[in-house]
């Protein structure tokens, strides 16, 4: 028995008067081999406790035959107890983690394949921050990317941005031409 198991603690506890009476009835029934008139306790754990108590209540002069019958009955009861004892259910762990892992993998795959690629770094090799294109420039570019779009506005916006872009690149530039 596991000393840490609360069910074992229940089995070791002193039986109540009601349990004692039921145990004596059960012991008599087992000894006589007759049908048990009184309904047996539902709880198998309780049955095991009663059996153990019944064995204690046996007369010391009884023959070994009675003890063997009780022992056999106890073995059956304990087997039932084992069958009913709540077990730690670890099955849920893989059942939960495997689908969750598969879902996470699927989400990552879909995200990486559908997300627009990251735009080239906005930092020069020397670590100088390259200015981001202003929204006015991006709007001009979007307006030009249509049938009949106006590219002259894009040209004008690019002039300003080009100056800032090369100035920022040049700030950290140590390469020769």
């Amino acid at each position: 028995m596991n000393p840490k198991d609360p069910h074992d603690a229940d089995l070791e506890a002193e039986p109540s008067p009601e349990e004692r009476a039921e145990a004596e009835a059960l012991a008599r029934a087992l000894e006589a081999g007759e049908a048990i008139a009184a309904p047996l306790p539902d709880d198998a754990l309780g049955a095991a406790a009663l059996l153990r108590h019944a064995r204690r209540t046996q007369d010391g002069n009884e023959p070994a035959r009675a003890g063997a019958r009780i022992a056999a009955a106890e073995a059956r009861a304990l087997a039932a107890v084992d069958g009913r004892r709540p077990r730690r259910r670890w099955w849920w762990l893989p059942a939960l983690l495997v689908p969750a892992g598969a879902a996470a993998g699927l989400i990552a795959t879909v995200t990486l394949t559908t997300r627009p690629a990251e735009v080239a770094s906005a930092v020069s090799p020397a670590g100088t921050a390259i200015p981001k294109p202003p929204t006015t420039l991006l709007e001009a570019q979007a307006n030009a990317a249509h049938a009949g779009g106006d590219l002259s506005a894009l040209d004008r916006q690019m002039r300003d941005y080009r100056r800032a872009y090369y100035a920022a690149l040049g700030a950290g530039d140590t390469e020769e031409p």
Binding site: P116, K132, A145, G148, R163, E176, P177
Partner: protein, 157 residues
């Protein structure tokens, strides 16, 4: 004048002469590129499209030799090709514009403002050449990059 003073004066003179003869430090490629663009702008503002084109073609020739040195140099070359494509479009020469845009895109199509510009220019050239389907495809690719850039522009600076 003592001998020591004469020797000192000669040494100082030699050093000074050497300093004057030393070549100026080479111009940085970014400075050279920015200057070429400014000159092209000035010529365009003066109505000298041919002069602007010649300046940009010279810039492209210089940039090609170093296009493999870094991503920044490659992108700079792509920007120059965009400007040449725009000039060809202004000259109503869509085939030449497509050729310039193709030349620029041959250096890479990774998402960047300059790549999106090349796609826009090629889309406009294809549209002018009557290939609406190919033009729409280029516009769509440009807009995808543009959308990403807009998202970044709206983000933290």
């Amino acid at each position: 004048m003592s001998r020591r003073a004469i020797v000192t004066a000669m040494l100082l003179g030699a050093l000074g002469f050497g300093g004057c003869m030393r070549e100026p430090p080479p111009e940085r490629w970014t400075t050279m590129t920015a200057r070429a663009h400014r000159e092209a702008d000035r010529r365009l503002d003066a109505g000298d499209a041919a002069g602007a084109r010649a300046r940009l073609l010279a810039l492209v020739d210089a940039q090609k030799a170093h296009a493999g040195d870094s991503a920044e140099r490659r992108l700079a070359l792509q920007d120059s090709y965009f400007r040449l494509a725009r000039l060809a479009l202004s000259d109503h020469d869509p085939r030449q514009a497509v050729a310039y845009a193709d030349a620029g895109l041959a250096y890479g199509t990774a998402p960047h403002l300059f790549v999106a510009n090349l796609l826009v220019a090629r889309g406009a050239a294809l549209e002018a050449a009557g290939d609406a389907r190919a033009a729409a495809a280029d516009y769509q690719r440009a807009l995808l990059i543009n959308e990403t850039l807009l998202g970044q522009a709206a983000g933290p600076r």
